[in-house]
């Protein structure tokens, strides 16, 4: 079943066509990798899905509903959450607070509920904290809940971003280069985590990643973008041997006879 569908999506910034006529579908429970050289339009595509940009033309459908004009917060409610390429945590908040604030019931707490702080509200808060702790346990940050986000090592900050996205109770998780800056051991545990999330929460995961070995080991399908256009799509080896993809990454072969 299709969860996400892009039909002929194009974004132009003035004269620059950042994403050109891209078709894309994501099926239930799928892990899809988005690869391509720098400036290929991968992050722009993410921003389209989260609502930071709206497409110049084309249609984005999520759960059988057109979401072209939906505001970012609305899309979060519908179940799209993301992480950022350059880590964006709230540095002055603790690990737990960074996750808490993303919990839908935490930021929807009414003004009078906060002021009168009845037993029921306290119970609710307890439940919210417990749910957040569950997610933090899944990513392995439960022992650091009292630390400020700023004091975490780089790899753990990335995990915290994933936890924050998870807490929004998303159906579709967008990971923008989640392994950037990680060592090979951290990468391996990240791969395990992504698999676990995909299985445990039955969610769809779309990830941008440059590490081809990691992409091949984790993704059900791979989509390649270059200059804003989709140049290939398919399972691992298919894409790797596609001449267009090789050209995009390595350039054209020079004729040796000349």
């Amino acid at each position: 079943m299709e969860v996400l569908k892009l039909e002929g999506v194009t974004v132009k910034f003035g004269g620059l066509v950042a994403v050109n006529n891209v078709d894309l579908t994501m099926n239930k429970g799928e892990i899809l990798a988005l690869i391509g050289p720098n400036g290929a339009g991968k992050t722009t595509l993410f921003n389209l899905l989260t609502g930071i940009y709206t497409p110049t033309s084309g249609r984005i459908t999520f759960k059988q509903k057109e979401i072209n004009a939906f505001k970012p917060y609305k899309r979060v409610e519908m179940g799209i959450a993301r992480t950022f390429q350059n880590i964006r945590l709230i540095k002055s908040l603790t690990v737990l607070e960074n996750v808490l604030v993303a919990h839908p019931e935490c930021h929807s707490e009414g003004l009078f509920q906060s002021i009168f702080l009845t037993r029921a509200v306290k119970e609710k808060r307890k439940r919210i904290v417990e749910e957040c702790m569950d997610v933090l346990r899944t990513v392995g940050l439960h022992a650091k809940v009292n630390e400020l986000a700023n004091n975490l090592p780089y790899g753990e900050q990335r995990l915290l971003e994933i936890a924050r996205a998870m807490v929004t109770k998303c159906q579709l998780l967008l990971l923008d280069e989640p392994a950037a800056g990680m060592n090979s051991q951290e990468k391996q545990s990240l791969v395990d985590l992504i698999r676990l999330l995909s299985k445990k929460y039955e969610m769809e995961i779309l990830l941008i990643e440059h590490d081809i070995r990691m992409v091949m080991s984790i993704a059900d399908r791979v989509v390649v973008l270059d200059h804003g256009e989709k140049i290939a799509e398919g399972v691992g080896a298919e894409v790797q041997n596609n001449p267009k993809v090789i050209k995009a990454y390595l350039g054209e072969e020079i004729d040796e006879n000349e």
Binding site: T50, G51, I52, K71, P72, Y73, V76, E77, A81, R82, F84, R88, L89, I90, K91, S92, L93, T94, L96, E97, L100, V101, A102, H103, P104, E105, C106, H107, S108, E109, L111, Q113, S114, I115, L117, R125, K126, I128, V129, E130, M133, R137, G140, H142, A143, V145, N146, L148, R164, A165, V167, T168
Partner: protein, 331 residues
């Protein structure tokens, strides 16, 4: 732990019994001023400290609250206890109206617009002579009455302001130590992140503006009935700056900080009276030195209580964590 609790009880008793051991009108007046400025600094802190909106026109909200109260008490028979919430709500409404266009602006631009708003309000007080009597001000504002007892002495007003400060502190403390407070801090730090996790920045900024204005209006209402005479001169640009200085000096995004800031900036000029003409210069110098050597203020955000949300639980996981990590590594 136990000694801090004892200290708190002693402090509370001293504050409650202040009019008994401080039998001095002048001292009591300063105590009441501190109360008014605590309300003003706290309300501005929700806007500047928590929502991160650099507003420079807080005296305007203070003035609106005062004028609404004065006009209602002079022209109608309404009881002060009804006028007080009305003044708060009307001022809150002004905060909402000003906030709606202004929250789309950032930083310095927002500062300039709120500055302009403050001046506009003051000029209305000066020029709308039919209603406000212009620069002559509004004299003879009624004192509050409670069950036939009229508030007259400074001690009466001291207890009134004490109650109002307690309510203000409680409400603002509860709000900033809630999901709303966390959301405000997130909006202040990074609006893109806030949107990416389902928080609407405009909504939270507007709530902060409205709430800040509302409590400034309450402070204004108290001021009008306490002094019993108001004029546009009480709500100048310099007052806005003074309130802002209290917030910054005390510590942004900190309830304790605002209280400390208000106390210090009300008391210091009084202590420096011996220096007569130089006293405001000395206060200025103190602020400059403070900002150079301790820019986060007396009680800055770094002293914030961490993981206040669902506090009881956040302490526990440390213990259960070990057990869980074992089961995790096993899989």
């Amino acid at each position: 732990m136990k000694s801090t609790r004892l200290l708190k009880i002693v402090a509370a008793l001293l504050i409650l019994a202040l009019p008994l051991w401080l039998r001095n009108e002048y001292m009591l007046h300063i105590a009441i001023s501190i109360g008014i400025y605590i309300m003003l600094a706290l309300s501005l802190n929700t806007i500047v400290g928590y929502a991160g909106q650099f507003a420079l026109g807080h005296a305007a909200f203070y003035g609106i609250g005062s004028y609404v109260t004065a006009l209602l008490l002079l022209n109608t028979d309404l009881s002060f206890w009804l006028v007080l919430p009305i003044a708060g709500l009307v001022t809150g409404l002004f905060g909402f109206i000003l906030g709606s266009p202004v929250i789309r602006l950032r930083g310095d631009y927002l500062g300039i617009v709120t500055l302009g708003f403050g001046e506009i309000i003051r000029l209305i007080f000066v020029n709308w002579v039919d209603v406000t009597r212009g620069p002559m001000g509004l004299p003879g504002i009624r004192s509050p009455e409670l069950f036939g007892y009229t508030f007259t002495s400074s001690a009466d007003f001291y207890y009134l302001v004490l109650v109002l400060v307690a309510i203000t502190v409680l409400v603002i403390y509860r709000v900033v130590h809630s999901g709303m407070g966390l959301s405000l801090l997130t909006v202040r730090e990074d609006e893109v992140v806030a949107e990416s996790i389902g928080i609407r920045p405009t909504k939270y900024k507007l709530i902060a503006f409205t709430m800040g204005a509302l409590f400034a209006g309450v402070a204004g209402a108290f001021y009008a009935t306490y002094i019993s005479f108001i004029s546009p001169d009480s709500f100048l640009y310099t007052d806005s700056v003074m309130i802002l200085a209290m917030v910054v000096l005390g510590g942004m995004a900190s309830v304790t900080g605002s209280i400390l800031g208000a106390i210090v900036l009300v008391v210091t000029p009084e202590l420096l009276r011996f220096a007569s003409d130089y006293r405001m210069m000395l206060v200025g110098l103190a602020i400059v030195l403070m900002m150079v050597f301790k820019p986060q203020g007396f009680w800055g955000e770094s002293r914030r209580k961490r993981n206040f949300y669902g506090k009881e639980l956040a302490d526990k996981p440390q213990k259960s964590a070990a057990a869980v990590s074992d089961s995790n590594s096993a899989t």
